[in-house]
């Protein structure tokens, strides 16, 4: 068998001129059974290169690392989780307020405008009441109805 090609590859390997593919060819060749005596001196080197790639870390390493990461993630998440009940409460408050205001609006739409007016402008109502009282007074004593209505009106202006 002619080993010219392999010998040439070996020479090129030691002068850093081989490609990665050619270096793989050398490793495969020296891991085979037909290595001639004069090339045996290189066999161990190329066999070693293949063997050394088997060196690895076991699954116990993976487990240890994953447990470290899980612990760290929990610590990182904790501050956020602490606020979860607060966010829930805030959401409930927001819902209650929304429903409440919607219901209020719906009810007020149904009710009469007069009620709305008395609510918005209580002084008119107060004045009305006062007037009715005054009217009653007037009915009791009809002597000075105009003077009474005049005393009420300045008070109204002041408040407005």
């Amino acid at each position: 068998m002619n080993y010219d090609y392999i010998e040439q590859l070996i020479d090129r390997y030691f002068s850093c001129q081989t490609t990665l593919q050619e270096e793989q060819i050398l490793r495969s060749f020296f891991n085979g059974n037909d290595v001639p005596g004069h090339l045996m001196q290189y066999a161990e080197l190329f066999q070693y290169e293949d063997e050394a790639k088997q060196e690895s870390l076991g699954s116990d390493f993976d487990e240890r690392l994953l447990s470290i990461i899980n612990k760290k993630e929990r610590v990182v998440l904790n501050p956020q989780r602490r606020y979860v009940p607060f966010f829930r409460a805030a959401a409930i408050v927001a819902i209650v307020l929304t429903i409440g205001s919607a219901a209020e609006k719906a009810l007020s739409d149904k009710s009469s405008h007069s009620v709305e007016n008395t609510e918005i402008n209580p002084y008119i109502r107060q004045a009305d009441i006062q007037n009715t009282i005054k009217i009653k007074d007037v009915s009791q004593a009809e002597a000075k109805p105009q003077a009474d209505s005049l005393t009420v009106q300045p008070a109204e202006n002041k408040l407005q």
Partner: protein, 162 residues
């Protein structure tokens, strides 16, 4: 980015690289752990990195070099032999390499200066291109070739003496 899918698979190449530099299994394992955890913590930045693997190997190598420097300082301060921390671990690969002659090759590679050793590790064991090795080691491609050339030359001369 997923830890089990994107980061954990780097463990073996990082382990072999760190082991080649520190020549101590426990330290190499520590370095891999530190590197992988740092990558995970900085995973948002890592998505911008061209090659996560190259970045990771580079980071692990720097950690390994730091540890070696730390040992050297300690050893010097104790007035002990500097090479005590290195070279005295012939059984590092015991569980993989049983053959005496392969152990000899293993020891020969570990006698090389760190740059030659790491460059040979990345080229001949990990199958990286000169360009990738240049990026990982932060040196030029021609420097990578020079280091590999010198390393292989040493191995060639010494494996003949087997």
């Amino acid at each position: 980015m997923d830890f089990t899918r994107d980061i954990l698979p780097l463990k073996n190449i990082l382990f072999r690289t760190a082991l080649r530099i520190t020549m101590n299994r426990e330290e190499a394992e520590d370095i891999v752990q530190d590197t992988l955890l740092k990558l995970w913590e900085r995973r948002t930045e890592m998505s911008k990195v061209d090659s996560l693997e190259a970045f990771a190997i580079s980071a692990a190598r720097n950690l390994a070099l730091d540890r070696i420097a730390l040992h050297r300082n300690r050893v010097i301060s104790l007035n002990e032999e500097i090479h005590d921390t290195e070279d005295n671990h012939p059984s590092v690969f015991d569980n993989i390499i049983n053959n005496e002659r392969q152990k000899h090759i293993h020891n020969l590679i570990n006698q090389l200066p760190e740059k030659q050793r790491t460059a040979i590790q990345l080229r001949d064991i990990e199958g990286k291109t000169y360009k990738e090795i240049a990026v990982i080691m932060g040196i030029s491609e021609s420097d990578v070739k020079i280091n590999i050339y010198r390393g292989r030359d040493f191995l060639k001369k010494n494996c003949k003496n087997l």
